[in-house]
Amino acid sequence: MGISELSDELLIKILSFLPTKDAVSTSILSKQWEFLWMWLPKLEYTSRYYLESTCERLKCFLDRNLPLHRAPVIESFHLEFGAKQFKPEDIKLWVLTAVSRNVRELEISQIYSLSLPNNIFPSSLYTCKTLVTLKLNGDILMDVPRMVCLPCLITLRLVRVTYLNEDSLQRLLSNCSVLKDLSVERGLFDNWRKFIAIVPSLKRLNFRTAHDLDEIVIKTPSLKYLDFTYYSSMIHHCLIEI
């Protein structure tokens, strides 16, 4: 009894226990294995893509293969990279594909980069009905549209994210009706002066800033856990109701 006698379903289950990179490489084992990895619901491209050359290869790979992915639901899409080798348009396209496949967890981390923030998200991300977890870390610019609605979002982490408009973050938070866990950490170069979080469902809040804000308003009547770090001596207005 060889491995080739196993059902595709079982082979895919085996692949699900491998790092994505290993799973993808099995496609050259034989024709039977060629497309099996494309049924994997969780895709993680992390911690190796810090060199220009590897980023270039990953970009080509994702451009070609992500639209052809066969899993009807992409449960999680996790991208971590260190260089600024991906153009915003590249990432936008990959996120677009993930959103169109009912993505539940989206995590994008850009480490070791100090560049101007980039808008890497399609507008469809902001109305994604299936998104449960969104974790962002990097020089990311969020252009939150007027009609933002994330009805399933439970966990939101925003590290070093900047926003196109002053009220973007407030609007985003106000339209996450089941949000339970919010973590916000300001970067060194962001543009926002206010932090307004009016989130009735919120249970956990982590907030960290190393430079001052003009205004802080937090209205979170369900809050059970608060970690608030404000390394500055100046604040003009602060209202916290929990």
């Binding site: 080739s4 085996i14 226990f17 491998l18 050259i28």
Partner: protein, 103 residues
């Protein structure tokens, strides 16, 4: 496959038989098995029989080992630790891709 059992002995002298796979759900027990295995019996000098029973109850609820999952994880481990050629050899997978002709 016969199930390996180990015996946990509490501070007040009570012994509990438990399948090894179940007991190893607990990190603490795993370490103790590695450190101080007298035959098949593991002494817990600071834990009473009552507490130990609760711990084992918890472990039983959290055993993820169904045969299929265990097999899949094992095969995945083999794939993870070997080159493509080694995988082909190990699992007897025939490479049925036709080599590309050089143009």
């Amino acid at each position: 496959m016969s199930e390996k059992k180990i015996v946990l002995k509490s501070s007040d002298g009570k012994t509990i038989d438990v399948a090894k796979a179940v007991a190893l759900q607990s990190q603490t027990i795993t370490h103790m098995v590695e450190d101080s295995c007298v035959g098949n019996e593991i002494p817990f000098e600071n834990v009473t029989g009552q507490v130990l029973a609760k711990v084992i109850e918890y472990c039983k609820k959290h055993v993820v080992v169904d045969g299929e999952t265990l097999t899949c994880k094992t095969v995945a481990h083999v794939i993870h630790t070997r080159t493509i050629d080694e995988i082909r050899t190990f699992f007897n997978v025939e490479n049925d891709y036709t080599p590309r002709k050089k143009q």
